[in-house]
């Protein structure tokens, strides 16, 4: 009757408590159990280990994350239980399969019918089945009523069947989700987040073995005489400790992320160990200090930020010149107040008078580009665009011909086409989401790119955007 309790480091209490709420005797197992813990706190590991240690318990694991909607979730629940029962009672397999299609389960009450039929077939058997929802709140279309359905499901079933009992175990990340159902008083086991020391120990337990193997093969390769076992140990452990020390701040107490970083950096670290320094941890550290200084976990191409920017310059977002200038103009519209427009963008000196002619602006407390973009009208965008768009003149400047040529960019079809493109790329957006009349005076616009991107775009057309903001804030 007693269950085996797996010895899981730092989860001893949780495993112990699990064994109190789960029992081989279905009379002693609680019908519902919450395991709460944020990401990478060992919920799944503990529960899997627990059931692996106790093969006499029947369990079915569902991953709501994969199901997306509740319909698919209850279908997969029906299917999993069916498969499980088929495995357990191979002689009844045909009966359990005929006329029982899990896809017909489209509502919770169908699920009840489905299970009722199956349990009736197996009426002379008896069993309790643990259903583990691994991350119920990660179901994409989760709503507040879904858990209520599950909470009441086995109440309805248990009144019909004494022999088959469903026991639900919900693994849940969000503590607020559980708080919502607190009146049900479902027993809860909390998995607290690991702390620094625990992570370090766990990583050593988890990773020491394979890293140590790697190290030995590497040492063989560089043909060193073998060190004492202790020293080899210390190289590996030193590496793990260094990674945890350097990156625990960045990843937080997320053991999986740190584990990934170990994989990411280990090869480089290993390659820095050679015959000259393998006895000297300090010099290994110095040689490979760059891997501890940056996270380097970017998905984009290798290399630092600077290089990346350069490589992007030529073909930023594959926008046309007009589009780029339109976007810059839109950025101005959103981040420069209207009252300064005349002083900044007008080429006619005579309309400047009074204070505005100085172009001096009050330095703002918070940098406006850190804030939400303000909305503007299309007319203003076109005007600023006209002012900043450089027209290429065929004639040499200063000639009489150039006086004739010199004209401003018109808001022609091309411009509007580009504007539409920017809108569909979501770089510029409107306040109304649906059924937009682009030319309506009621439509308000705003830019939808942060400073970093607009800066990149501006520099790709050699446009010094920063000077327009000088005096407003420090850059």
């Amino acid at each position: 009757m007693t269950l085996d309790i797996p010895n899981i480091k730092f989860r001893e209490y949780q495993a112990q408590t699990l064994s109190s709420f789960i029992s081989q005797n279905h009379n002693h197992s609680v019908p519902h159990l919450f395991l709460q813990g944020y990401e990478s706190t060992g919920k799944t590991y503990t529960i899997t280990k627990f059931f692996a240690c106790n093969p006499q318990l029947t369990s079915v694991t569902l991953r709501p994350e994969e199901s997306v909607t509740w319909k698919l979730l209850i279908q997969s629940m029906a299917r999993s239980i069916q498969y499980k029962l088929c495995d357990l009672y191979p002689t009844r397999r045909v009966q359990l399969r005929t006329n029982l299609d899990p896809l017909s389960v489209e509502e919770p009450f169908h699920l009840i019918n489905f299970l009722t039929k199956m349990f009736t077939i197996l009426s002379n058997e008896s069993r309790q089945i643990f259903i583990i929802f691994d991350g119920l709140d990660t179901l994409q279309d989760i709503d507040a009523t879904l858990l209520l359905k599950f909470l009441k499901l086995n109440e309805l079933l248990s009144h019909q069947f004494d022999n088959f009992k469903l026991k639900m175990i919900y693994l849940i990340r969000d503590a607020n989700f559980i708080a919502r159902y607190s009146t049900f008083n479902v027993p809860t086991i909390v998995f607290p987040r690991y702390n620094y020391d625990q992570i370090l120990e766990l990583l050593i337990i988890m990773r020491f073995g394979d890293l140590y193997e790697d190290l030995l093969t590497h040492l063989d390769k560089i043909e060193t005489k073998h060190l004492k076992e202790d020293d080899n140990y210390s190289i590996v452990i030193n590496f793990i400790t260094l990674i945890v020390q350097a990156f625990q701040m960045y990843t937080g107490n997320n053991i999986n992320d740190l584990n990934d970083l170990l994989d990411l950096k280990w090869d480089t670290y290993l390659s820095n160990i050679d015959e000259t320094n393998y006895t000297n941890p300090i010099s290994i550290y110095k040689k490979s200090i760059h891997i501890f200084n940056a996270t380097n976990d970017t998905l984009t191409a290798d290399g630092g930020d600077d290089e990346q920017e350069e490589s992007n310059n030529g073909q930023t977002y594959e926008l046309s010149n007009i589009a780029k200038y339109l976007l810059i103009a839109a950025y101005f519209c959103s981040y420069i107040e209207t009252k300064y427009d005349t002083s900044i963008f007008s080429r006619k000196a005579n309309i400047k008078s009074g204070r505005s002619s100085y172009g001096r602006r009050k330095k703002m407390e918070t940098n406006p580009r850190h804030l939400q973009p303000s909305i503007f009208q299309l007319e203003r965008l076109l005007a600023i665009f006209q002012a900043i768009y450089p027209m290429e003149s065929a004639t040499s400047s200063g000639s009489l011909q150039s006086l004739l040529d010199e004209r401003l960019m018109k808001a022609n079809v091309e411009v509007f086409q580009n504007l539409a493109e920017l809108h569909s790329l979501k770089l510029i957006s409107t306040t109304i989401v649906r059924s937009i009349d682009f030319l309506s005076y009621k439509t308000k616009w705003k830019v939808n790119v942060p400073w970093e991107i607009i800066h990149e775009i501006a520099s790709s057309v050699d446009f010094d955007i920063a000077q327009y903001f000088s005096g407003v804030s420090d850059f």
Binding site: D4, L156, P281, T295, P373
Partner: protein, 578 residues
Amino acid sequence: MTQEEDQNQSSSEIINGVNKRPLVEDSKANKAIDDSNDDLLVEFDSPSMKRLKKEETIYSTTYVKNLLNNTNELLSKKPSDEAFSQFQEILLSHLNFTLPSKDTRIYSYLKDTHNEISRILKQSIIQKESHSVITVGPRNSFKSFLINHELNLLSEEYQNQFITIKLNGFIHSENAAINGIATQLEAQLQRLHGSTPNEKDETEGENFVDDEEQEESTNISSGSLTEVFEKILRLLDSASREKVSTSEDDASETTKITVVFVFDEIDTFAGPVRQTLLYNLFDMVEHARVPVCIFGNTTKLNILELLEKRVKSRFSQRIIYMPQINDLDKFKMAIHEQLTIPENLDLNKDTKYAEQWESFVKSLLEDEESKLFQSVKTNYETFKSLTTFRNGMIPLISTASSFEELKEMLVVMNNLTNYNTNQLQASFSARVKSLSNLELAILICAARTALKSKDEAINFNLAYVEYKSMVKAMNSLIPSSTAAALNGNGNVLEHSMKLWSKKDVKNVWETLQALDFLTDRSAVGLRESAIAVFYASNYVLQGTNMPFDLRIYHNQVTLQELRRIVPTSSIYYSWTQL
């Protein structure tokens, strides 16, 4: 641990030079620092200072070996003596309410309600009257429990005289409920027919009814909703006739089958539209030839207001409010009943432990100094929930391996305390404490920005700027290198704080979001129903279109709160005020 530390001093020294502060090498110096609690040092490096000792042990080879060896061992409960494990099992069954119905003890404060429910059920099942009742009470107030308990008791004696149909408003929509009734009727009637075979071939006329009956009983749940409902109603009517006929041989009292409906969450059927199901069922109570008993359970106190006029007028107006415990003495009594095995339990062959246990629990509950009494009192003053208390007691009782140990546990109450402590580890402050340094810094900066801004709205940009300026301000206070910072190797130790790049901090920002410290301003939280989710997924929210840096968030924890949570020894404590 300390022994190990001493033993492995030598091996740990090899690595010490690499990433430890020079102060570590001498354990005495280390101690001195701990003792003197030098503000500057502790302030700037307190987390690592605290770790020093731990790390030294981790570095040691033997420690690692131990770590690696200890991973796969199983902890098993010690076997205990037979009588005790039997006692323990009964006690656990009692706690879980899974003892056979006749042995289950009802809490004494529920006695009156229990009698009431029992009377109504007996009237409908034995005397074949029709009734409708709604029981109102909060969750876990034993509404369904009492009804089920009574039905189980009655089914032992009058098994073939009634059928129970259970519906739950959470699971059955109104349409599904009709189908649900049909399928359950089907199953129950099949069971009844199965149990009373060969009684149907009495006379020709009856036979005809029976055939129709049987045909119907296998086919009730097919067809359109109205058809199904019609069939149900017809069947309920004819059931009486059928039963009269089949039981002519028997004594005359077993003539009709009572249909007991138990509706959980009856308020969900009392929706704004039509309430057809309730109307028809309550109508049946009045008119059907077969006795019908309807029990509705709900948590809504205003259930009568939810019912339509025509439904309300058909309802018997009988409402049972579940009693609540009003004073500590009653609560204590209930706890006593919860923790002790019911008397005259015939399962209990060896009563040695049961009696001892009974008197032991009683004495502890009466002693106001005892831990048990204290926790009962705390529960009474906070949750006032027997179920919460029970959840904490199950681990206590199930982990005991002998009677002496169990008694000891009940005196010390460590398990209950541990259970309650464990529950608290999901709390906000526990979460703040689990953050890494950088995460905490960003969270504080976000809280600072929120306090500074007008509408408490923040975005990533603003928080990062705040973080940058805070780090810069802090670094400007630190001398770049001091004489004390030179270790034996002549390495200069950097004291300044690392300023993480904006790109890296984005990751931290997302972690804080995942931990519920920050919420998107346009976020709606958990949708109330599946329909709401469906609609929401069809519209793209404005917020999701915005660049990451500019999305507006609200902070779930304020700076003042953080000031109370962040320990004063933390390097960031000074940041927690503007």
